[in-house]
């Protein structure tokens, strides 16, 4: 009797629960959190009956990857929309975790976004994500120090090293370091090293032939330069343990002449509340090696939909809302993070508030993605090990290390060949 009674209650209440659709959105905390909460509230207001439940994950990409893949491999239906780092689309697509968005996301609409992140979102001719933020490596420098010592911002790496050495010698500040960047053994190390290697006309891998190119002379030359001229000469050893926040802290404390970071550092470095060098900072594309072109690593975040979502339609409406021109403008204006829609780089209101976007546009357009392959993470771990071993030890055997890293990468890439001859 009691069972029937409770069953009746459940059946009676069920429609009320059903009426409100819950959309699960897994995100991370960022400086954008406040404005995002407002935007989500606006989305809920525009879509009565839909409630967006936010789950906030760790802000480190590696840890966020653990969280998301854990949910995806368990086919968790409690996950609808999530943030995707620019290096994951190939992996998530191949594993069958991310929903292809082609039916929702027409080509004409795709063209509204910057080409570099859009390319990173494609895998095997289908598109798996919508770009939200775009990132690219930039060179920050102390305008005041360079002017004081009569230097123009450096165009090449050797020039940067010479300027740093000269300034260090004259300033005689034991706390001052020439170059602050991310050289800890983690994903950021690859972004940094890739900029040196590609900036020397070399590559990390050959996408067509599926083989590593780390053994090429120019690639090894760039690694040797970092070991001998950057880590061994103008930087403090501590750089080998730095991620973004530590390296930026050194720069904002006025203890670094040059600093490599993502666009967000501009706001932080010029905020007098957190930075001792506000107003004394310049930003420009990273240097290259003589006779080569400057290269910035592409970073950034996309929104993707889980293949196991039970409500892809509503999920897409949410993604569309979050990446609309209006939303991206709002987020850009309130956070200073670079938007992913090309048109916003010509928006008068945004340019008035953030004039640096005008000059950074070309850097975003030319930013190079890291290898797009479902085995990126295994390759990344091999490269992290190689780069860290090569630059952290003053007399490291770069030839030998490069040889074994290339061999390990080739073995991993071998697995992709199988697919071609099933």
């Amino acid at each position: 009797m009691r069972t029937i009674f409770s069953l009746a209650i459940i059946l009676f209440l069920a429609p009320c629960v059903e009426a409100q659709t819950q959309l699960r959105f897994v995100t991370w905390t960022s400086e954008a959190a406040k404005v995002w909460t407002q935007i989500i509230a606006d989305f809920e207001a525009a879509h009565p009956g839909v409630k967006v439940v936010q789950e906030v994950g760790p802000s480190s990409s590696t840890e966020f990857h653990d969280l998301i893949t854990q949910k995806l491999r368990n086919r968790d239906p409690q996950l609808d929309v999530f943030f995707m780092d620019v290096i994951w689309p190939a992996e998530f697509a191949a594993a069958g975790w991310a929903l292809p968005l082609d039916e929702f996301f027409p080509i004409a609409e795709q063209k509204q976004f910057l080409e570099a992140p859009m390319q990173a979102d494609r895998y095997a001719q289908r598109v798996y994500g919508v770009p939200v933020f775009v990132d690219a490596g930039m060179l920050y420098f102390r305008k005041d120090l360079l002017e004081k010592h009569g230097f123009a911002p450096p165009r090449t790496w050797p020039e940067l090293v010479r300027q740093a050495q000269s300034i260090l010698a004259q300033e005689r500040d034991p706390y001052l370091t020439g170059y602050s960047a991310q050289f800890k053994q983690y994903e950021g190390l690859i972004c940094n090293m890739m900029e040196f290697i590609l900036g020397n006309g070399a590559t990390l891998w050959n996408e067509q032939e599926l083989r590593s190119t780390l053994q090429d002379t120019r690639a090894k030359e760039a690694v040797r330069f970092v070991r001998d001229q950057i880590v061994g000469a103008i930087s403090n050893r501590g750089i080998l343990a730095y991620q973004e926040s530590e390296s930026l802290a050194l720069f904002t404390q006025g203890k670094a002449i040059f600093h490599r970071n993502w666009p967000y550092a501009w706001e932080v470095a010029n905020d007098a509340k957190q930075s001792k060098v506000a107003g004394k900072v310049g930003v420009m594309p990273l240097p290259a090696f003589p006779g080569q072109k400057s290269v910035a690593t592409l970073g950034g975040w996309q929104l993707a939909i889980s293949r196991f979502s039970r409500q892809p339609q509503i999920a897409w409406q949410f993604v569309q809302f979050m990446t609309s021109a209006e939303t991206q403008k709002r987020v850009a204006l309130s956070t200073g993070r670079a938007p992913a829609r090309a048109a916003l780089y010509h928006d008068a209101e945004i340019l008035k508030r953030y004039p640096q976007f005008d000059s950074q546009y070309q850097t975003f357009v030319r930013a190079v993605p890291r290898p797009r392959t479902p085995v990126y993470l295994p390759l990344a771990n091999i490269m992290q090990r190689y780069f860290s071993s090569a630059i952290a030890i003053a007399d490291s055997d770069i030839d030998g290390l490069a040889r074994s890293a290339a061999r390990d990468m080739d073995r991993m890439l071998e697995l992709l060949r199988d697919r071609r001859q099933p």
Partner: protein, 296 residues
């Protein structure tokens, strides 16, 4: 007389189910998966039975071998230090003095702090520019400042220091329990016989806390072999792979790279090594002990 059957299985079954589901099944599953090639990001390769191939790869994988050495070094250095420090702390805490209750609580703080929080703290302590470590050693002489987490030769040592700081109290706790089990009459008796403090320690305290010492050693060895969170937060295995302990390598393979088969083989290797070490300890240190208990 009517024979009374105790409902043994009925009472045991809840705990057996829990152990089965949460301990035995995962171990069995790891064993099974370690015989397959299974890469989550390459689903078209399928789940292919490869026999001992993952284990053969493991033995010939130079990275796995070096992380095994790193783990072994970590265990060999931290475990004895922790047990010795723990013994010292336990002996002090076992004496009666004013404020003992407070001190006992204070000593446990490092152990009670969540490891991730403690690791973050040590990461700041070891920061080359703002860390307390350098300031305490060199004060304002910044030209001598070290970057412990940036030097391949020092990073592992830094993690060892953090581990010793954090877990010596745990060893102390176990040993203290052992000390408190020693009947006071024994000391009174040897006092009458005129034994020195060292003789009391050597012939009464030490033999009687042997089980506690063994337990502390066993727990610390297994825990040290499985060290993960300190590495995860402080160094991510770097620099130059110098802190890439076995458990962290296995995590990277299974979770980040999605190489389920190979990752499981590493997990099984860690499991077997801890099992072997445990058996060895019990044999070496516990054998005499068990016999005596049986005789009593």
């Amino acid at each position: 007389m009517k024979r009374y059957h105790e409902p043994v299985w009925q009472f045991l079954s809840p705990s057996l189910v829990v152990v089965g589901v949460f301990s035995l099944y995962p171990i069995f599953e790891s064993f099974r998966l370690s015989f397959y090639r299974m890469i989550l990001t390459l689903p078209w390769l399928g789940q292919k039975f490869v026999g001992w191939r993952n284990y053969a790869d493991l033995i010939s994988d130079p990275v796995a071998l070096s992380s095994f050495t790193t783990s072994a070094l970590f265990v060999a250095v931290t475990t004895p230090i922790e047990v010795l420090l723990g013994l010292g702390m336990a002996l002090v805490l076992n004496e009666s003095f004013r404020g003992r209750g407070w001190l006992r609580a204070v000593v446990l703080i490092p152990w009670a702090v969540p490891t991730v929080v403690a690791s973050q703290m040590w990461r700041f302590i070891f920061n080359d520019r703002y860390g307390v470590f350098n300031y305490l050693l060199f004060g304002d002489a910044t030209q001598f400042y070290w970057a412990p987490l940036a030097e391949p030769g020092l990073a592992l040592m830094s993690i060892m220091i953090a581990d010793v700081w954090k877990t010596s109290a745990f060893a102390a706790l176990i040993i203290l329990a052992g000390l408190q089990g020693i009947p006071h009459e024994l000391y009174e008796a040897v006092n009458v016989d005129g034994a020195s403090a060292w003789q009391k320690f050597r012939h009464i305290t030490l033999p009687l806390i042997k089980p506690a010492l063994l337990l502390a050693l066993l727990f610390r060895t297994i825990d040290a072999l499985k060290v993960f969170d300190l590495v995860f937060v402080m160094t991510q295995g770097g620099p130059a792979d110098s802190t890439n302990v076995l458990q962290f390598y296995g995590y990277k393979k299974s979770f980040a790279e999605g190489m389920i088969g190979y990752g499981s083989a590493i997990a099984v290797a860690v499991f077997l090594v801890s099992l072997l070490l445990s058996l060895l300890y019990i044999r070496l240190l516990g054998a005499g002990l068990l016999r005596k208990e049986r005789a009593a």
